[in-house]
């Protein structure tokens, strides 16, 4: 085990962590605000990746434009999903509505995944690079510029999202709704719009993740399900509905995964994470940093 291997494994872990962070920040946001979990998050990742792929291969657009279009479409799709499916359930409310939402989003995920299988076929599609083919020499390890840019975009997107949540009126309104919806209503926040917005933003983050991930992993209709499980683990580990915990946890999970993948193979990384999370849950049921609402 030489230093170079370790450093590059850590780098790959960080990269995975960045993608998990993009996917799970959205999940954790809608958990924080709506107390629901979206099983279809992985499918929005898939949609984002497909749109970016087709934009680049068919229309030869600039990657930034492709990513923007992916973000826009997944934003609309998320808003549509909230209005059509989750809103009626929320209005009905009652016992077990969380489980109902879980099952409904599972249904959405089935429909999206299999529609993609019909329309796009079960092929792996990918592009070799999004930005450039050069490699970078960083402290003795080599990594492609592409991967470096991906990590940068992931971090930048999360930063922008953080600033949006903390320093704009709309962002503050979303956080207020998460903390106490009755109080938020009494100061004149339209919480229905905040719910829809939170849902749309969370799926948009997933769409961006899918689009920027394109040069590393190929896109195929079930690509979402290979990422989404880890994201659930991330939000449990980070403490449900907590942004900083989620970020920390996504990098931890990414690094654990990259090491166990290198030393034991892909399949076992599930198993090790499962055991790791089991132990964490036994010791600290509310995640590494504890539970808190935005």
């Amino acid at each position: 085990m030489d230093v170079e291997t370790i450093v590059s494994l850590v780098f790959y872990g960080l990269l995975l962590g960045g993608i998990y962070a993009l996917l799970s920040v959205g999940l954790s946001l809608i958990y924080g605000i709506l107390e629901i979990v979206n099983f279809a998050q992985g499918e929005f990742f898939m949609i984002g990746a497909f749109i970016c792929y087709f934009m680049i291969t068919l229309f030869n657009t600039h990657p930034i434009l492709a990513i923007m279009v992916s973000a826009l479409v997944t934003f609309m799709a998320g808003a549509l999903m909230e209005k059509l499916v989750i809103f009626p359930l929320r209005k009905r409310g009652g016992r077990g509505w969380l489980m109902n939402v879980l099952v409904v989003t599972l249904g959405i995920s089935l429909i999206l995944q299999n529609s993609a299988l019909i329309t796009c076929g079960a092929y792996h599609r990918g592009i070799s690079y999004l930005w450039s083919t050069k490699t970078l020499d960083l402290l003795g390890i080599r990594c492609s510029v592409d991967r470096f840019i991906i990590l940068l975009i992931a971090i930048a997107t999360i930063l922008v999202f953080y600033i949006f949540l903390h320093f704009t009126y709309t962002g503050k309104a979303i956080r207020a709704t998460a903390q106490n919806k009755d109080a938020a209503m009494s100061v004149g926040i339209n919480i229905n719009i905040m719910y829809t917005l939170a849902c749309a933003l969370s799926t948009m983050l997933a769409g961006i993740a899918g689009a920027i991930m394109l040069p590393i992993s190929t896109v195929y209709p079930t690509v979402g399900s290979s990422y989404i499980l880890f994201c659930f683990i991330v939000i449990i580990l980070g403490g449900l509905g907590r942004l900083d915990g989620t970020l920390l946890a996504s990098f931890i999970v990414g690094i654990i995964q990259s090491f166990s993948m290198y030393y034991f193979g892909m399949g076992w990384s599930y198993f090790f994470l499962f055991i790791f999370i089991g132990i964490i849950l036994l010791i600290r049921p509310s995640g590494i940093l504890g539970e808190r609402r935005y």
């Binding site: 958990y31 979990v37 499916v85 009626p88 359930l89 009905r92 016992r95 077990g96 969380l98 489980m99 109902n100 879980l102 099952v103 409904v104 599972l106 249904g107 959405i108 995920s109 089935l110 429909i111 995944q113 299999n114 529609s115 299988l117 019909i118 399900s225 499980l229 659930f232 683990i233 449990i236 449900l240 193979g265 892909m266 399949g267 076992w268 599930y270 198993f271 994470l273 499962f274 999370i277 089991g278 849950l281 036994l282 049921p285």
Partner: protein
């Protein structure tokens, strides 16, 4: 199979309906004639029973087990590995498979059920995925995706599907009988109390954690037994038994059939399996249909088919 009929029909009619159902189940494969129809009937009974046992945790305590296929797979692999390596009778093996799957359910339940319901949903899902990869990678033991050859059930000509049908029917009726005994007893009341309101239930002296774990463990135990049967019936076992599409199928049957009725999912399996058999070559379309069914049922008919079937029955009896 009593469950929901209880409130609407008197005891005499109830017993008549149950007898008619059992007789129907007994003579159906003889009337069917072809081997293929018998195979379909086996699938119907198998899925129907699984739908009912899934209901034990999803419908009665409100805990949806998203890794149900995992528990079926544990039962299937335990039972067949025991039969292959220690040459123990498959019938005992099925029971041991059930116990193995119940133990894992018990363990998962104790870790996650004191927390938010979401932890349970995710953990069961994650467990089944982790085990699927583990079984696929332990090639020396399970032969992974090459497929494990499982010996058929002993004691009769293994090529006759009819025998398998009657053995499965026996197992299923016992499971359904035990389940209905449980849900109609005080334990079942506790389950329903937890589903309606956990805090109120605990103030009335119900130990919420114990009863939640109990419902999950029972449901996993039955899944393990039925998984064992599946392995011996199909004869070749691959890690795909643990794939989440099986969970989705069972989940759809339970939700369409109506949660909290036991007999609802059982009856629905016959309708759904025969109906979607037309789509079997088009697995993709079938899964889309399942997804649509799930959304429609939850949004528009949260009680499922059970109340409608009940009305139909009542109309014909009076």
């Amino acid at each position: 199979m009593k469950g929901g009929i209880n409130e609407m029909l008197n005891v005499k009619n109830q017993i008549i309906i149950q007898c008619v159902c059992i007789v129907l189940l007994l003579i159906m494969p003889i009337l069917a004639g072809s081997d293929y129809i018998v195979h379909l009937l086996i699938l119907c009974v198998w899925f129907g029973t699984l739908g009912a046992t899934f209901d034990l945790s999803a419908g009665y305590t409100g805990l949806v087990n998203f890794g149900y296929a995992g528990f079926i797979g544990i039962g299937a692999y335990t039972s067949s590995l025991i039969a292959i390596n220690f040459s123990i009778s498959p019938y005992v093996g099925m029971l041991i498979g059930g116990v193995a799957s119940a133990l894992i359910g018990l363990f998962l339940g104790f870790i996650t059920l004191r927390l938010h319901g979401f932890y349970f949903a995710i953990f069961t899902l994650f467990m089944s995925e982790a085990l699927r990869y583990a079984f696929a990678n332990l090639v020396e033991l399970t032969r992974g995706y090459l497929g494990l050859m499982v010996p058929p059930l002993s004691g009769f000509d293994p090529t006759l599907r009819l025998y398998y049908y009657y053995i499965l029917l026996g197992i299923s009726l016992i499971i359904l009988f035990v389940s209905s005994m449980i849900v109609n007893s005080q334990v079942g009341l506790a389950f329903k109390a937890i589903r309606e309101d956990e805090i109120k239930a605990s103030t009335m002296g119900v130990n919420v954690l114990i009863f939640k774990v109990l419902s999950v463990t029972l449901s996993c135990f039955f899944a393990g037994i039925l998984g064992g049967f599946y392995a011996h019936y199909i004869g070749v076992l691959t890690p795909d038994v643990l794939a989440s599409s099986l969970t989705v199928e069972i989940l759809t049957i339970t939700y369409v059939g109506g949660r909290g009725s036991l007999w609802g999912p059982f009856v629905t399996a016959f309708i759904l399996i025969f109906f979607t058999e037309i789509l079997r070559p088009l697995v993709i379309v079938r899964l889309i249909v399942y997804g649509l069914l799930l959304i429609i049922v939850i949004l528009l008919y949260p009680k499922g088919l059970a109340p409608y079937l009940q009305k139909l029955l009542k109309k014909y009896i009076h």
